[in-house]
Point group: C2
């Protein structure tokens, strides 16, 4: 596979995998990994496909979280993160790394908002506790069974 084919494989995996684990570094320099939604999963988040329609050749990541979460607290101190999107049943996975930022563009936050998220953000779209994080990965590692493992930047 060449790099373009790897990217295509990676994007398909993002669209199909249900598990995403996101890591930030805490105030003591320890990593902290927890599950997050994979907003690019087409089955779980079909209405968000339009938000990513211009990114079908790259690996742009948005992560929804509470402003009061440990994720945001850690990122304010250290922007280095890792996201692992994996489909363990098929032994496929993707590790994305780089520096993350907190989205201030209100239009993006509106485009991503889903009404059922009121269980997490009771005041709705305007809830101050609603935060979107954005990662444009610098490093990408993708694997499939024992067949290949490829790292590109």
């Amino acid at each position: 596979m060449n790099e373009q084919e790897m990217k295509a494989f990676s994007i398909k995996l993002m669209q199909e995998a249900k598990t995403a684990c996101f890591t930030t570094i805490d105030e003591n320099g320890y990593p902290h990994t927890r599950a997050v939604f994979n907003l690019r999963n087409l089955e779980q988040f079909p209405t968000l496909e339009k938000v990513f329609k211009d990114h079908n050749e790259d690996l742009l990541i948005y992560i929804s979280t509470n402003t009061s979460s440990s994720k945001v607290e850690h990122i304010r101190n250290n922007t280095a993160v890792s996201l692992c999107i994996t489909d363990p049943e098929n032994f496929r996975g993707l590790t994305l790394g780089g520096d993350i930022n907190i989205v201030t563009d209100e239009e993006i936050k509106t485009d991503l908002w889903l009404d059922w998220w009121e269980q997490y953000y009771p005041k709705g779209r305007e809830d101050e506790d609603y935060t979107i994080l954005e990662l444009n990965p610098k490093t990408i590692e993708v694997w499939y069974k024992g067949k290949f493992k490829f790292r590109f930047t």
Copy 2:
């Protein structure tokens, strides 16, 4: 739930969840998260239950990996790690943190060895590329739906 009940919930989750994502910190200080086997999963690794039989009240973790892997390379430089064991379908998860070490006890390595791992370590149990990592977690965070999120040490 009190701490004892949380531990019991966490151990049951370890025994049932199929997804585990493990994070080390690379030479540039960036976290790197990838999928690993959850060796405490009873369905996937039934013969290993006996290895953990004395640990059914704690959260001891063993991770099998190649000596030549990025995990071992990173750990030799920085022992701070995080392991997220998650069952996304049921919104259950566990984050374990602390310092990891490379197992030198040959008996433990023999107890954990599975013959089908020859696909990863072609020379078998004595393959120098066969490494076991051990984590006695210092911090534990467990969550279940929106119902609870609890951190203990």
